[in-house]
Amino acid sequence: MQKKWKLAVGSLAAASLLLTGCGDKLGTKEDKASGGQIRVVTTFYPMYEFTKQVGGDFVDATLLVPGGTEPHDWEPTAKDVARIADADLFVYNGAGFEGWVEDVLHNLEGAKVKPVEASAGIELIEGGHDHDEHEGEKKEEEHKEGEHKEEAHGEKGAHDPHVWTDPVLVQKEVENIAAALAELDQARAAEYKKNADAYLAKLKALDEKYKAELASSKSKEFVTAHESFAYLAKRYGLTQEPISGLSPEQEPSAAQMAEIVAWAKEHQVKTIFFETLVSPKVAEAVAREMGAKTAVLNPLEGLTEEEQAKGLDYIGVMEQNLEALKKALNE
């Protein structure tokens, strides 16, 4: 009778050996550094784009969040974390956007990878839009004073991390990335500086274009799918009314929906914006409710395969956004 369970245990052992066996082959296929390039792992699209722009051919940049995936709810697999650990540089936006970064970095203490928080040094604004108040300016002032107190209450991550939607603030992100690359690879510091300056000039031109073309718009209010354009709105004197919260996951309650519709009617908003990476059903519901149109305003949290195929990049999408905004605000 002993045989009976020995057989069972034996088959278990065999099964596990088989499985770990397959694992071995696949595991060693890991790509290793090539040609003196700096290996940079980046979290989501703008980080990848900025790193490529500054690093050029000297960096081997990897994008963690795959194209077409909404990064808010994305979490790395164990292999992704191993990729981070093996890289030279790890570029993330920070400000609480990639909620998992803190834990992962804590676990990677002692690894050689150097983390770069691209949003470091940027003054963040308070997020978690409150639908009851719309006097954005006044509220902001109050928040500046109350900030520390609120943080003590553990309101972690209530800062708005979407700094990359502002063509001016991203310049700081590009500078941060360039500084980190130059520090790591001092021999090519001049190259990185040159690339960064060239890209910064393009971003400045983008800012000028936004300033010039939005200055004359008839209305100043626009409705976005989630709270991702606060920095852009602030920069160009517009008012953003988001449908969902800081993350597209945070869908509005029925009462909030009613308020948004009322607000949009009051301000005669004719276009409700939605995003390429999030289901447009909530934006469509709002638009239907008030007989408005829908259009895309891309918060650049990732590019779809279609957008990639068209060869769009950060500046290209930002220009599309400008067109969409101009159209919506001048109706």
């Binding site: 099964a15 909620g99 804590h106």
Partner: protein, 292 residues
């Protein structure tokens, strides 16, 4: 294969996995034998509410999960007594209650923090040293509990009435066991996820009950199956870049299917051989614990 152990975070994940695999199947065997296999499921939903409270108040989530699971365990036991005829009702009530409070509490948290889905399906990338110490504590507690209370738990599990008559404090023991189950669920949940935590308890138990004779051996086989699935599952999950929780459970199911098939074949052969042997020495059919 060994190259993956150079990463500290994976070492942590494996340590955590081993600790869970040591205790969860043991609790599972008792749960299955006491007709409470769904209790782990309930407790994991309740501890999710605890995690939500922790995230909201900025407390250590494993701690709040443990508190919630302990409260849940007491409720399971009390409700089980008040709905005596429908004892599974307590499970249904608490499961929906736990999930409902978790969803509402999570929505109150405005910031962008660790996502809901990572708790539903588990995450092995961020096991901290504190987590490991807490788990170690729970493992030690489970060890002590069964070391000292092996006999009374055995009697309680197989015959509650006899236990009562022979002076075992049935109520106290039953509640303490539920509390212990709650602790194990709460520490396993962040790693293998709410939806999968109960499978790591009940699947090894069901496999072990199929192949083992005798109680001690059932426990031993269950732990062995648990360890195999967790270590195999974590390795496969890393190598193939697939989610760990699901991989572990699929591996367990595969083991279960293989066991059932092998057992069927073995018993077919045995029936043939046994018929001849029976004729010789009159030995009856051998029964396993699972066939009781």
């Amino acid at each position: 294969m060994l190259e993956m152990f150079q990463y500290g975070f994976l070492q942590n994940a494996f340590l955590a996995g081993i600790m869970i695999a040591l205790v969860a199947p043991v609790i599972g065997v008792y749960l299955v034998l006491r007709r409470q296999s769904l209790m782990a499921e309930t407790l994991s939903h309740v501890s999710l509410a605890g995690v939500a409270v922790g995230a909201l108040l900025g407390l250590y989530p494993m701690l709040t999960a443990m508190v919630a699971a302990l409260i849940g365990a007491v409720f399971v036991d009390t409700l089980r007594r008040s709905f005596k005829a429908y004892s599974e009702l307590s499970i249904a009530i608490l499961m929906s209650g736990g999930l409902a409070s978790a969803v509402v509490l999570m929505s109150l948290n405005k910031g962008v923090s660790r996502s809901f889905t990572s708790y539903l399906f588990g995450s092995i990338i961020a096991v901290s040293e504190t987590d490991l110490y807490v788990m170690g504590g729970v493992v030690a507690l489970v060890g002590l509990f069964f070391w000292f209370l092996w006999r009374p738990m055995y009697v309680l599990t197989f015959d509650e009435e006899t236990a009562q008559v022979s002076g075992v404090p049935v109520k106290l023991l039953s509640v303490s066991f539920s509390l212990l189950a709650g602790l194990v669920v709460a520490v396993s949940m962040p790693i293998i996820g709410v939806l999968l935590v109960s499978s790591l308890m009940t699947l090894p138990a069901s496999i072990a009950l199929r192949v083992s004779r005798g109680f001690a051996m059932t426990i031993f086989v269950a732990v062995l199956v648990g360890l195999t699935s967790v270590l195999g599952g974590l390795s496969a999950s890393y190598a193939l870049d697939i989610p760990p929780g699901g991989t572990i459970v699929l591996l367990l199911l595969a083991i279960l299917v293989v066991t059932l098939i092998v057992k069927r074949i073995v018993s077919m052969i045995q029936a043939r051989v046994g018929a001849e042997q029976d004729a010789e020495n009159g030995n009856g059919v051998v029964r396993t614990l699972g066939e009781r």
